[in-house]
C-alpha cells in the first residue's frame, strides 16, 4: 500500500513537469494553431540556464527560477519574431518545419558549446518527511506546488484578464483583432513569453529532480509532453494538465510493476489506444466541418 502511495507521489512529480511543458505547447497552439516543436528544446535551455545561473552566479532557488524563466521567455519571444512571424500567413507545415529546425538548432548549438552532460547543484536543502512509510522530499513538494500554482495562474490569465481575452480572440480569428485596436503582435509575443517561460520553469524543475542534464534531454520529454497536450485535447489548458498527469502516472506505474524498459512501449501504446477511441483528446472537441 505504502509502495503504491509512494508511486503516486512520484507520478505527481513527473506528471506536473509534463503538464508544465504541455501547457506551453497548448498555449501557443490554442492561440496560433501552431505546433511549436522547438518547445522541448526551450525546456532543455531552461535547465541549462538554471545550471549556468546556479553555478556561475551562485544564486539561490528563487532568483535562479526567476532568471531562468525570464531568459527562456526572452528566447521564446526572439524565436517567434525571427523565425515564426514571417511565416504567419504561410502554409502551416512550413511553420512546423521551421520549428523543427529551430529545435535542432538549439540542441546542436548547446551541444557545440557544452559537449558533456552537466550536473545541476542542489538548490534546495533536501529535507525528507516520512508519513507512515511514504517519504516526501521538499523538492517534490516544491515541484508539485509550483506546477499547480503556475497552472492556476495561467488559467486565470487566459480566462479573466484583458490580455487573456485578446489571446482568445486571436485564437478565434486573428484577422479581425486589429480592428478592435488590439496590438496583435504584442499579444502573440506575450503568449510566446508565457508559454516558453513555463517550459523554462519545467526545465529547471526537471533539472533539480533529475540533476544530470544534456542538450538532447528536451527531445523525448518534449515529444512526450506534446502527446500529453494532445491526449488532454490540444488548445485546452485544463486538458494539458490532465494529459500531463495521465502520462506521468502511466509511466511511473509501468516502471513500478514491469521492467523499466517497457515504460515507453506501454505508455505510447496506451496513449495510441486512447487517441483512437477519443481522437480529439479528453477535453478536446472536434471542429465541426461546415459544408
Amino acid at each position: 500500500m505504502a509502495y503504491i502511495f509512494q508511486q503516486i507521489l512520484n507520478a505527481l512529480q513527473l506528471g506536473s513537469i509534463y503538464a508544465l511543458i504541455a501547457l506551453g505547447y497548448t498555449m501557443v497552439y490554442g492561440i496560433l494553431t501552431m505546433i511549436n516543436f522547438a518547445h522541448g528544446d526551450l525546456f532543455m535551455v531552461g535547465a541549462f540556464f538554471c545550471f549556468l545561473i546556479a553555478v556561475y552566479l551562485k544564486l539561490s532557488f528563487v532568483p535562479t527560477l526567476l532568471l531562468s524563466v525570464l531568459g527562456v521567455a526572452c528566447l521564446g519571444v526572439v524565436i517567434e519574431r525571427l523565425a515564426y512571424k514571417p511565416l504567419r500567413n504561410a502554409p502551416r507545415v512550413s511553420a512546423i518545419i521551421t520549428a523543427l529546425g529551430v529545435g535542432l538548432f538549439l540542441e546542436n548549438f548547446t551541444l557545440a558549446l557544452s559537449p558533456y552532460p552537466k550536473h545541476i547543484p542542489a538548490l534546495i536543502a533536501d529535507k525528507t518527511w516520512l508519513i507512515g512509510s511514504v517519504s516526501i522530499s521538499s523538492l517534490q513538494i516544491i515541484i508539485i506546488a509550483l506546477s499547480l500554482s503556475l497552472m492556476l495562474v495561467l488559467d486565470f490569465i487566459v480566462q479573466r484578464t484583458k490580455a487573456g481575452m485578446a489571446m482568445r480572440a486571436i485564437s478565434w480569428d486573428k484577422t479581425v483583432v486589429p480592428l478592435m485596436g488590439v496590438p496583435v503582435n504584442k499579444i502573440i509575443s506575450l503568449t510566446f513569453a508565457i508559454g516558453t517561460g513555463l517550459g523554462g520553469a519545467a526545465g529547471m524543475m526537471y533539472g533539480l529532480a533529475y540533476p544530470v542534464i544534456d542538450p538532447y534531454m528536451g527531445i523525448m520529454v518534449g515529444w512526450k509532453a506534446f502527446i500529453s497536450a494532445v491526449v488532454g485535447g490540444i488548445g485546452n489548458i485544463r486538458g494539458a494538465m490532465i494529459g500531463g498527469f495521465i502520462l506521468g502516472s502511466v509511466e511511473i506505474m509501468v516502471a513500478a510493476f514491469l521492467p523499466s524498459t517497457y515504460r515507453d512501449f506501454v505508455a505510447f501504446t496506451l496513449l495510441l489506444i486512447l487517441l483512437i477511441f477519443r481522437p480529439y483528446g479528453i477535453l478536446g472537441k472536434p471542429n465541426p466541418q461546415k459544408v
Partner: protein
C-alpha cells in the same frame, strides 16, 4: 540582345521537344545501371563516395515515399523511421538467420522485398486511424507509432534489444540501390499520375468535397499508406545491409525529422523536389563534415531561412516536366488537335 533571347527560346523549345519524346529515358536508365555496376565492381570511384551515393539513393526512396503522405495527401506523418526500422529488421533477420549463406546474394532482393511487405502490412494498420482523424491528431498517431516501434524493438532480446543487430553482409551495392531507387520513383510517379493519385491530391485540397465527387477516400488512404510504408521498408532493408549494423536508436524521431526535412526542403507534392531535397541534404551533410558539430548548427539555420523565403520548399507544388506523363502535359494540345481534325473532316 533580342537575338540572344530568340536563341534561348529555340533552345528551350528544342529541350521541350526532347523531353516530350522521352526516347532517352531507357538510355539514361541503362547507362546509369551500367555505370553503377562498373563503379562498384571495378572500383571506379572511391568507396567512401560509393557509400554516399548509396545513402543518396536510400534517402531518395525515403523522401519520395514520405512525400506521398505529407506532400501529395497533405497529412503530417512524423513516424516514417518506424516503417524503415521494420523493413530493416525483417530483411536483416532473413539474410542473417533464415536464408542459407550460400544463396544470400540471390536472395537479397527477396529479403528487401519481404522487409517492404512487412512494413506495408503495418502501414495498413496506421491507415485505419487516418479514416477518422486528420491533421495534428493523425500526426500524433504516427509519432506514437514510431516510438512504439522503437521501444518495441528495444524490448525484443532475440533481435538484440537496445544493443542492436549485426552480422549482415554488405549486400547493398550501388546497382541494387540504383534499381530500387528507380523503381520507387517510377512507381510513385505512376501512382500520382493515375486516378488514385488524383484522389490523393483531392484529399489534400478538400476531403469532404473529394468524397462527394465520388472519390473513395478510404481506399485512397489505404493505398497511400501501404505504398509509402512499403518503400520505407525497402529503404530500411537497403540501409541495414549498407551499414551492416542496426540498432533501434537509428530509427528514432531524429531520423524521422531528417526525412521530413528532406521532403520540405525539396518541396511538397513533387517527384523532382523529393530527389533534389534528398540529394542536396545528403551531400551537404557530407561536404560540411569538416565543420564537426557546427555542421548541425548551420544546417537547421539554413532550413529555417529556406522556409522563411520559400515556405513551400524548392519545388513545392511544382513538377519537372520530365516526370509528367505526356497525356497530362499535352492534354489541351491533344484535345485541340482532335477537335480540329473533327472540324476538318468532310461532313
Amino acid at each position: 540582345m533580342p537575338k540572344l533571347k530568340a536563341v534561348y527560346q529555340t533552345l528551350l523549345n528544342k529541350w521541350y521537344a526532347v523531353i516530350a519524346h522521352r526516347f532517352f529515358w531507357p538510355f539514361f536508365l541503362i547507362a546509369g545501371l551500367l555505370f553503377s555496376i562498373a563503379a562498384s565492381s571495378f572500383d571506379l570511384i572511391d568507396l567512401y563516395v560509393q557509400l554516399i551515393l548509396i545513402y543518396v539513393g536510400i534517402n531518395i526512396i525515403l523522401t519520395i515515399s514520405l512525400n506521398l503522405i505529407n506532400g501529395y495527401m497533405g497529412e503530417f506523418s512524423i513516424g516514417h523511421a518506424g516503417f524503415m526500422a521494420i523493413g530493416a529488421y525483417i530483411a536483416s533477420l532473413l539474410t542473417v538467420n533464415i536464408f542459407p549463406p550460400s544463396a544470400i546474394n540471390f536472395l537479397f532482393p527477396v529479403a528487401v522485398l519481404a522487409g517492404g511487405l512487412g512494413a506495408a502490412l503495418i502501414g495498413l494498420l496506421v491507415a485505419v486511424p487516418s479514416f477518422k482523424t486528420r491533421g495534428d491528431y493523425l500526426a500524433i498517431v504516427t509519432l506514437a507509432f514510431g516510438m512504439i516501434v522503437k521501444s518495441g524493438i528495444e524490448n525484443i532480446e532475440a533481435i538484440g534489444g537496445p544493443r542492436g543487430f549485426l552480422g549482415m553482409e554488405k549486400l547493398t551495392t550501388l546497382p541494387w540501390v540504383f534499381f530500387w531507387t528507380v523503381l520507387s520513383v517510377w512507381v510513385i510517379r505512376n501512382l500520382v499520375y493515375s486516378n488514385f493519385g488524383r484522389g490523393v491530391l483531392s484529399i489534400r485540397e478538400d476531403e469532404i468535397a473529394s468524397d462527394l465527387m465520388s472519390v473513395n477516400t478510404r481506399q485512397v488512404k489505404v493505398i497511400v499508406f501501404v505504398v509509402s510504408s512499403f518503400f520505407a521498408g525497402i529503404a530500411g532493408g537497403l540501409f541495414a545491409h549498407a551499414l551492416q549494423y542496426i540498432n533501434p536508436r537509428m530509427f528514432d524521431i531524429l531520423k524521422s525529422t531528417d526525412i521530413l526535412i528532406m521532403v520540405y526542403l525539396g518541396g511538397i507534392a513533387s517527384i523532382a523536389g523529393s530527389i533534389i531535397g534528398a540529394v542536396i541534404y545528403t551531400i551537404l551533410l557530407e561536404v560540411l563534415r569538416p565543420l564537426g558539430i557546427w555542421r548541425m548548427v548551420f544546417m537547421p539555420l539554413m532550413l529555417v531561412l529556406l522556409m522563411i523565403y520559400r515556405p513551400r520548399g524548392i519545388m513545392g507544388l511544382r513538377e519537372a516536366r520530365l516526370f509528367v506523363p505526356l497525356r497530362d502535359l499535352l492534354a489541351v494540345k491533344f484535345w485541340k488537335q482532335k477537335k480540329k481534325e473533327a472540324d476538318d473532316a468532310p461532313a
